[in-house]
Symmetry: C2
Subunit: 160 residues, 2 copies
């Protein structure tokens, strides 16, 4: 379920939704949780099991378009995702990024990385270094994906 009505948001300078914005018009993945400010979405990407996005519910473009409390609240969701990834998936590294060049609607990529994954140590947006399967790290994490989703849903459901 995605919350799209936030007329009472204290600093809703950004429009609630924009035409032709895929993240206003679609969930952008399997929604694991949705609050007033943001939703948490599982990305279907075999090379990076557990790849998760934290997507702003408003059509804001940059973090500095949000109020300071909203920035902190949004980032707390990112850190929650990162901590569950580390606890359940044991990645070698977590990559966190808000780019939005193609879709200028605020969304954070939280990406577990393994030393033998497709692009490591490059960013996932670089050309793949390995094209023969997903690597042992990601493969092992893939077997933990259901546990990750369950743990993440549980932690998110405990939010005030």
């Amino acid at each position: 379920m995605i919350v799209t009505s936030q007329a009472s948001a204290p600093n809703a300078d950004a429009p609630q939704a924009a035409q032709d914005c895929i993240l206003c018009e679609t969930p952008g993945g399997e929604v694991l949780w949705a609050g007033e400010l943001a939703r948490v979405v599982l990305v279907d990407e075999a090379a990076y099991p557990g790849f998760t996005r934290v997507i702003c519910q408003r059509h804001a473009k940059e973090m500095t378009d949000l109020s300071a409390p909203d920035r902190t609240e949004l980032m707390n969701l990112v850190w929650l995702v990162e901590s569950v990834q580390r606890a359940v998936l044991s990645p070698d590294k977590v990559n966190v990024a808000a780019l939005g060049n193609m879709v200028p609607h605020l969304h954070w990529h939280v990406i577990p990385r393994w030393r033998d994954d497709a692009c490591f140590p490059d960013a996932i947006w670089a050309p793949a270094r390995r094209k023969d399967g997903v690597g042992e790290g990601a493969e092992r994490a893939g077997t933990r994906l259901a546990a990750y989703v369950e743990a993440l849903r549980t932690r998110l459901s405990q939010l005030a």
Copy 2:
């Protein structure tokens, strides 16, 4: 000036410095400001004038290795950088990322982007789409670089 001694940091679980870590051993760019938790460094990258990094002073690997107050303090520096980039350089987008696959010492890339820059709309880690100069957006921003640095230094110097 880089502050390296933080023995009294309240939650210094991470080591203060690690051997063979380039961000423990070198500034990592032109240091514009340094506090106890982080330093702000200008990156010399002609394609992205104003590219700035916020680098943790401790050898922490992930954001969730920091305490919640330290996370907020570090991100507030990132947002300060982003806001000065927007005010002075007028980028079409700002990209914010903590990857650290090659150098697992917490550092944030804050990257102003222009529609005609080398890689837009891809991440800067993707192959360049344009190799003929830096584009008008970045070129215009290049002429504002000194003003950006001055504005950023001023804002940083006003921090408590």
